[in-house]
């Protein structure tokens, strides 16, 4: 007989991600509202909101009349459903057959699986612990039928296990709501004075059938539900198939020393599978199993979803130089460990792929050989030259954008304050040239990708249980969000510098300091030089760099750049940059770190930072 295990997930009131996402404290009276027939209806409430008088199912306007301090957030029902589906797949760690049950429950068919976990009680305890580790509070029960497990999970004791002989007596004690009836039926039963399941059991079946099954179409009549809970009627669980796994395995009859002749077919099979499912691989893994039990693993990532067998094959080809064949390989497995949805793309008339594909292919090949040394610089809002660009791993870069004016135009002389983390999220070449002003914490660029769950609040009910799964799961499984900054950056057109006449500039509403040229090359780290200069703050006259003396003919400056006080240590010194031209014509970018008497060190040091054309 099937043993049904049923879990009902409920929220943990103080889960860490809730505070992180919503910015609300756990004690805030938060309710989540869904659209009802006559305006928004409360879908879930937090503990504080429940104490304040809000209840699930009430209308938001009514609850606000009772407790004006309620914080109302919109509910994300499709997101919850998706997260619950993921949780159902995750629950297959205990048994192979699982499905979602309503909007807030899971049902697992644990027939023949409980003994692997040390019995049903131990399995339920394990489930509770692991769900708690995910941030979910769950109510669990096990019984012989789906209906009985449902009833015990909601209306029974914690982690109750229903036994077959006592099931009828145990069910008789539960309220009729435990029979999975709709609201109208429950209302009718209450009017008839039938409060317990036992009251229904005592009635003659014919009377019940006549009263509730009159139209003959209702599936959820009390009689049917009672029979299902007691096991008189079958109730199969439809378990959705697991997510497609892109994996092909080739088992060889004889071990081979060189697996390469088989690989082309393996890649073809994988790519055909990807085409059928409309996916493209972002990460592939090739496993070569040796006959003596050892395995070799090769991995490659791509800059862009691809299902070009030849390209994927080439990515791994070079790795086989160091392959140790031992006594030979007998099993080859190829898997696309990370995939993305990829629609078909039409090739150009001459049969070639687009520029973006060609570029992604190039990046893959370069990265496969050189590794992390393939990078591209992104502009960033910072006055410090070495921080004004961020070197990030290369990706399929967007095509060039029109650029309005020199980059330095519109650069103020005031360091830009702001939340660095929020700016770091800006993808691609999207950063506007410079002054942005303080960016409010938590603000996102409009083109930020990936699922962005609405701010959530600690609340009670199924709503938040699902949020937990969404938050955790999307970070782990969802390739689009995992790609995040790594995906092809979408570029926004550069903003034209409009604040050349900044308020409070020189002389009140005057011009901001003129554009400063930047060198063509920056040394990897500023190199210390010995400089003869007019103390205390005069321009340099001659300097010695890499043991070579230079006589300065002309200079321009200083351009004073203050340290970024919001992240530099308090002892960081300001820099006075000079563009100098030496006797033979070469132009350099020097700076003096600090000024004499600024209380942050002794005499200022000089550095050479860049080379002008």
């Amino acid at each position: 007989m099937a043993r049904w295990e049923r879990g009902r997930t409920a929220p943990a009131p103080t889960a860490p991600w809730e505070e992180a996402e919503s910015g609300l404290d756990a004690d805030a009276p938060v309710v989540l509202a869904a659209e009802g027939r006559h305006g928004p209806v409360i879908h879930a409430v937090s503990e504080a909101a429940a104490r304040a008088g809000a209840s699930v199912g009430a209308r938001v306007v009514d609850a606000r009349a009772i407790a004006p301090e309620l914080v109302v957030q919109p509910a994300d029902l499709p997101g919850d459903a998706a997260a619950l589906t993921r949780l159902a797949h995750w629950a297959r760690r205990w048994c192979p057959w699982s499905a979602t049950d309503g909007a807030d429950g899971l049902v697992l068919d644990t027939t023949g699986a409980a003994h692997l976990w040390g019995g049903e009680a131990a399995m339920l305890a394990d489930m509770e612990a692991r769900l708690a580790a995910l941030g979910q509070a769950a109510r669990l029960a096990a019984a012989h039928t789906h209906g009985a497990a449902w009833a015990l999970a909601r209306h029974g004791d914690p982690r109750e296990i229903g036994t077959s002989d006592a099931l009828r007596a145990r069910l008789a004690m539960l309220p009729v709501a435990a029979l999975r009836l709709d609201g109208q039926t429950r209302l009718t039963l209450r009017r008839l004075g039938l409060k317990r399941v036992g009251d229904l059991m005592a009635l003659p079946r014919a009377a019940l059938d006549r009263r509730f099954g009159r139209d003959g179409t209702a599936l959820a009549t009390p009689l049917r539900r009672l029979d299902q809970a007691l096991g008189h009627l079958p109730e199969p669980v439809v378990s959705p198939p697991p997510p497609h796994r892109f994996r092909t395995v080739q088992r060889l009859p004889e071990p081979v020393m060189d697996p390469q002749p088989w690989l082309a077919g393996l890649f073809q099979t994988l790519c055909a599978d990807l085409v059928r499912q409309g996916h493209g691989a972002r990460e592939i893994r090739l496993e070569l199993y040796r006959i003596d039990g050892q395995a070799s693993l090769f991995q490659a990532v791509t800059a862009r979803a691809t299902r070009d067998a030849g390209h994927l094959h080439r990515l791994l080809e070079r790795r086989f130089e160091s392959l140790d064949a031992g006594f030979g390989f007998d099993t080859l497995a190829l898997e696309a460990t990370r995939t993305e949805a990829q629609t078909g793309a039409q090739a150009a008339l001459d049969g070639s792929d687009g520029a973006e594909v060609a570029l992604a292919t190039l990046i893959d090949r370069l990265t496969g050989r050189v590794g992390a040394a393939v990078r591209s610089p992104d502009p960033r809002a910072s006055h410090l030259p070495e921080r004004a660009e961020r070197w990030s791993p290369a990706r399929a870069v967007p095509v060039a954008r029109p650029f309005s004016g020199p980059a330095a135009e519109g650069r103020g002389s005031v360091p830009v304050a702001g939340d660095d983390a929020s700016r770091r999220r800006q993808p691609g070449f999207a950063a506007p040239p410079l002054p942005v002003g303080p960016v409010p914490a938590g603000s996102r660029p409009p083109d930020a990708r990936g699922p962005h769950p609405a701010p959530r609040a600690p609340a009670e009910g199924p709503r938040l249980a699902v949020v937990a799964a969404a938050g955790k799961d999307s970070a782990r499984r969802d390739p689009s969000s995992a790609a995040g900054a790594g995906g092809p950056g979408r570029a926004r057109p550069m903003q034209a510098p409009s604040d050349r006449l900044a308020p409070g500039g020189l002389g009140g509403g005057g011009l901001v300091a003129p554009a400063r040229a930047r060198p063509l090359r920056l040394l990897r780290a500023p190199e210390r030089i010995e400089v003869l200069y007019a103390v205390p703050e005069g321009p340099p006259i001659r300097f010695r760099w890499r043991r070579r003396p230079f006589l300065i003919r002309r200079h321009q400056g200083p351009e004073r750049i203050s340290p970024e006080w919001w992240q530099a240590p308090a002892t960081a010194r300001l820099r006075d940059y000079y563009k100098v031209e030496v006797a033979d014509g070469a132009r350099y970018w020097l700076f003096r770190e600090g000024v004499a008497g600024d209380g942050r060190g002794g005499a200022p040091d000089w550095f050479l930072h860049g080379l002008f054309a």
Binding site: L359, A407, L522, R524, R554, V580, R587, L611, A613
Partner: protein, 220 residues
Amino acid sequence: MTASSSRLPPVTEVLASSQDGAATGFVLAQLDAMGREGPILWVQDRLSMQEGGLPCLQGVAEVLGRQVPLLHVAAKDAAQALWAMEEGLECAALSAVIGEVWGAPRALDFTATKRLSLRAARSGVPLWLLRTDAAPGLSVAPDRWRLASAPSAAHPLDAEAPGRAFWRAELFRSRRARPGAWVACHDRAAHCLDLAAPLRDGPVGEGADRPGPDRALGGG
């Protein structure tokens, strides 16, 4: 004579000192002459990065007049840099490949430049081979330049400041034109390279404190 008016060869070799940004400016001034769209692949080997630093995005954007995506490969040696250049030259989506190799490594011989030249000709992506601190060896590049900085023009607003950059560009080997030496500068408004015959004497009205080009040549 403007360089942009003539068709650029697939490979151009530029020799310069690693402590001088002239060659970089010279290359960037001609980058758009082919009218190609797409990112620039910039390959550097370890020594050229150590000696001459990395390209600065803002400075490059100022010269080109727009933000061009850069793809930078920090190769560990010349052989790897040459391989990366060859891979890049196969990709017609790039607007140009700039390869920097320091010194005269064994990997960069006549055969290597021939391979690069064939690939560049096939895909149409121009290659700029920037060889720093190197003696001119054998190469198939049709144009070979030697670059050094020259004293800049007068700054329009500040007599003390360096103005528009001038370079001494010497075309010491060419299959397409007669070799010669020019004073080159980048016309930012038109984005083209201006080549002018070098002045034999210093500019009129300049005092003795400013050396002419010839004296500066000897002074190194």
